[in-house]
């Protein structure tokens, strides 16, 4: 485990914690960007260049901006008077802690079954990914394209301002 991994992991976890805990919604969105950037750097650390840059483009470039737009359009930056946490927040916290306990237990107790050591760095170029996308994975690619088109048209229709019908 290298030092870089610990730094990047701490950055991502700190960003995620800040995104969940901060009171001001705009600050949460900015902290979310930090968490996404940390995750993209972790992807690069894992020699997944394409996934890392896709993460930067899609999450930092699009999703974070979308979240900021939604906050501005809904005036979500005003902190509500009766707290930012839901009424039954202790239940949610207990559920999350239980999930983490189960996941951590599963990882720590399956250590011997996991692939051991550091394998050689896989050499994967964008050309390989493109060939795989256009060859073996062409059907999922088309389905994702259809899904994205449908989702974007659907999002526009859902969020479109309803005009008053003339009477």
């Amino acid at each position: 485990m290298s030092l870089i991994f610990y730094v990047l992991a701490a950055l991502s976890v700190a960003g995620a914690l800040a995104a969940v805990l901060l009171k001001n919604t705009v600050h949460c969105a900015l902290a979310l960007t930090v968490a996404f950037a940390g995750l993209a750097l972790l992807f690069l650390q894992l020699d997944a260049q394409f996934a890392g840059f896709a993460q930067i483009l899609v999450y930092i470039g699009a999703v974070a901006i979308l979240v900021v737009f939604a906050i501005l359009l809904t005036r979500g930056s005003e902190t509500p008077k009766d707290g930012v946490y839901s009424r039954n927040w202790p239940v949610g916290l207990v559920i999350a802690a239980c999930v983490f306990a189960v996941l951590g237990w599963a990882v720590l107790h399956s250590m011997s079954a996991l692939p051991q050591g550091t394998s050689a760095v896989p050499v994967v170029t964008v050309l390989d990914i493109g060939n795989a996308l256009m060859g073996r994975y062409v059907l999922p690619l088309e389905i994702v394209a259809l899904l994205l088109t449908a989702a974007l048209i659907g999002a526009v229709i859902v969020a479109m301002h309803e005009k008053e019908r003339p009477k």
Binding site: A35, A62, I95, G104, V107, M111, L147
Partner: protein, 103 residues
């Protein structure tokens, strides 16, 4: 601790943080942020298994992560569109205030 176990633990921690955020915040946008964090933690798992698995040249985990990123982007767009639509209708994004399905 092997590198793979370290990545898996970080992903588990991020998933739990996202779940806690989705379950405890009132603002619908913050709930969506929690869901995005959970999806990202799953992507980290996929990439880590791809990197340390026996056949990285088969690109399976990488492809799964790329498709997962695309689906997450679609989910974010629809989710935020719904939040904006609900805000226009009910003038709030407080999920505790939205306790009926009738408009």
């Amino acid at each position: 601790m092997t590198p793979l176990a370290g990545y898996l633990l970080v992903a588990a921690l991020l998933f739990s943080i996202g779940l806690a955020g989705a379950l405890t915040r009132r603002n619908a946008i913050l709930v969506l942020i929690g869901i995005e964090l959970m999806l990202n933690a799953a992507n980290l798992n996929l990439i880590a298994f791809w990197r340390y698995g026996p056949h990285p040249e088969a690109l399976t985990g990488m492809m799964f992560a790329i498709f997962s990123i695309a689906v997450a982007a679609a989910e974010a767009a629809v989710g935020l569109g719904l939040v904006i639509s609900i805000h226009r209708h009910a003038h709030t994004t407080d999920l505790d205030a939205m306790n009926r399905m009738k408009g």
